[in-house]
Symmetry: C2
Subunit: 400 residues, 2 copies
């Protein structure tokens, strides 16, 4: 994502390259590079502030109006940009430019232990359709699980009638920088499977994105949700996932495994975890532990009990907030981030978790620097939106 | 440090700017920029690989031999570079170039709770002299403490007879990005003091560097010690400090407070910490806890007991290694770093701590990605060397 992010940040006044400034070796290659750079620049400009006119974009990029017009015409012909009707005005009317909601779209899929979900995201970042099937992926082979995902994706693509430019997959496991899944503690049959190759084969696409669900959910928050540049995202489900966004980019660490807050130890006397340790956050504040200590059959019942003021449910939530505070404060003491975003099940339980978590963090973060606790609006859809978002960001960054 | 680091990394083949490539607005300013860039480039080249000849540097930088010669002559005249005698050879002899060990030097000072230390570091990274005085800084005002430090620095500077280009200070507290000390739990009288202004006033210098001791020690490891690009540094003393180096640079977080591993909770039932929480790493594996649980009066006695096989001392060290493993694995699960560097007291106890720590980490880091545990050679001098190193890096990066 680094490159894509970098591209988006190039949208600064006067960032356009004029032909005379090009330092490339041969003129034809140089011209192509310039054109590609400037197209990307104009597209990012339209994405960042929809509704600008050609004249405004010329002013913002430092490119000539003639260059802008040629590039915009190209982008319209490529189906990426549309011109809306201008507001009535005296003189020559100027049409506001927007990303084309009916242009290339992306499919994001999320594999969970007990269900598979998919969505279609359009160029403008709107989810155009979504579907979920209940299925026991932990009892499936990766091949069977992916085949079902592809069928779901095909059905979705047919329903929205948008050209699908790419597909990306979120999985509940540690994914290395080269797309190999290394550890899927909650989908043991999927350990080590080359999901990127399998999915590319099934979809007939050269390259597909496969990434950890919490990383993708954090990116969805960065691009379409909270939109902050620095935060730790923590999402509850069967496992507890995390993603760190720093300086506007996903912080992946050296090998791609950063953000694994679910396996920070919060209680040395706690229950044994799937990872082999004891008292990991996931064991103390994951879905199973929460439901059990609240004596609730499922999330709906937990919410009902909490809303009805059940002492047992509220005590379970307070305990979970305390465990979250231990792990999150460890992350914040080490990485100094000003914001925590609660996602997944924790977003749904935000009204009970956010306040005690914030109170505990103000005591546990040693710098005493303020920390804001936010509740995700993307909820359980964040990972698949982030997956599809990777495809959309790639289209916007590399349009040519 | 980001800029300085960046400068050093510019040392790649063909990184020199030739005059025709300069895009600056006016020729004179452009020429100065080019010259400055190229001087820095040549200097970094000599620093990175001492002993190169002018011809070799021309080859590595892509600059002409005439340009290199002019720049090297300048650097020699500025006292930054020296030419050594060439090895006997046929043909025209080429002189190997080195940083000048008798050129501008830096003074690094470290304020600890119970002593103040200072060293003189020369351009080549060699400590030319060092002194320590035992003094109760926690009972001093910042002004009195700094005045003593300055006297120590002056005595040192007089003894080595090198031109002192700058001075920098390491303190055991949280220092914000703008040099204000916010929290010095072990030096309560120093909380909130503007040490940068005070020290600048006492030394008559416009700007001085003041930073957290563990951050500076981590930088010393990066530049003069372990020299790896990605690691977490953890040092034991009265407090437990930490610094994260990622991609060759110190990771400071959003407000400058990253790396505070000493306040990661490792035992919810542990003793109350100066920060107000319970069971922080510092309380369980800091100097006081270690000496007490080993029934040793000081570090020397602890080492003697451990070497003699005292069960109590060895059990205390095993307990400390276990506590370190909880906090360090939290850091590694969140930041995915491949190396831990033990510093300060932990370096001295490395023969007992490193192995059990490595064994525990291999179980606690959920990605199962390998983690190397290294013991610092800089030991308790790391922070003052890092402080002085900031000055040296600045000289090397901005020579003009």
């Amino acid at each position: 994502m680094t490159d894509l992010e970098g591209q988006a940040q190039h949208v600064t006044r006067g960032a356009g390259i004029r032909a005379g400034q090009e330092r490339g070796p041969g003129a034809p290659a140089g011209q192509r590079t310039i054109r590609r750079h400037n197209r990307g620049l104009v597209l990012s400009q339209i994405a960042a502030a929809p509704g600008q006119t050609r004249v405004q974009i010329a002013g913002a990029t430092g490119l000539t109006r003639a260059t802008i017009s040629a590039l915009v015409d190209d982008l319209i012909a490529s189906n990426l940009v549309i011109e809306r009707r201008p507001a009535p005005a005296r003189g020559r009317p100027a049409c506001p430019l927007h990303l084309n909601p009916d242009g290339p779209a992306a499919i994001g899929i999320e594999i969970k232990v007990d269900r598979t979900s998919a969505c279609v995201l359009d160029l403008t970042g709107v989810v155009r359709d979504r579907r979920t099937i209940d299925v026991d992926n932990s009892a499936s082979t990766p091949k069977a699980g992916l085949r079902r995902s592809c069928q779901l994706a095909s059905a979705l693509a047919a329903s929205v009638r948008l050209p699908v430019a790419g597909i990306a997959l979120a999985v509940p496991g540690l994914v290395s920088a080269d797309g190999q899944v290394f550890e899927t503690p909650n989908l043991p049959g999927w350990n080590g499977a080359d999901l990127r190759r399998l999915l590319a084969g099934m979809t007939g696409r050269d390259s597909v994105t496969v990434d950890n669900e919490a990383n993708l959910a954090a990116l969805a928050e960065r691009w379409y949700g909270i939109r902050s540049t620095d935060f730790i995202y923590v999402s509850g489900d069967v496992g507890v996932g995390g993603g760190v966004v720093f300086g506007g980019e996903l912080f992946r660490g050296v090998r791609g495994f950063a953000g694994e807050i679910g396996h920070v130890q919060v209680d040395p006397a706690g229950p044994v975890c799937g990872c082999g340790n004891r008292g990991c956050l996931e064991q103390v504040a994951g879905k199973a532990a929460l439901l059990q200590s609240a004596a609730a059959a499922d999330e709906d019942e937990l919410c009902r009990h909490a809303r009805a003021g059940s002492r047992r449910a509220l005590a379970a939530l307070t305990r979970a907030a305390g465990a979250l505070a231990v792990a999150v404060s460890a992350a914040l003491n080490i990485a100094d981030l000003p914001m925590v975003v609660l996602g997944g099940l924790y977003a749904r339980l935000g009204e009970w978790l956010a306040e005690p978590l914030a109170a505990q963090l103000s005591l546990r973060v040693v710098s005493r620097a303020p920390v804001e606790v936010r509740v995700s609006d993307l909820g359980t859809e964040a990972a698949m939106i982030g997956a599809a978002g990777c495809v959309i960001r790639h289209i916007l960054a590399s349009a040519d």
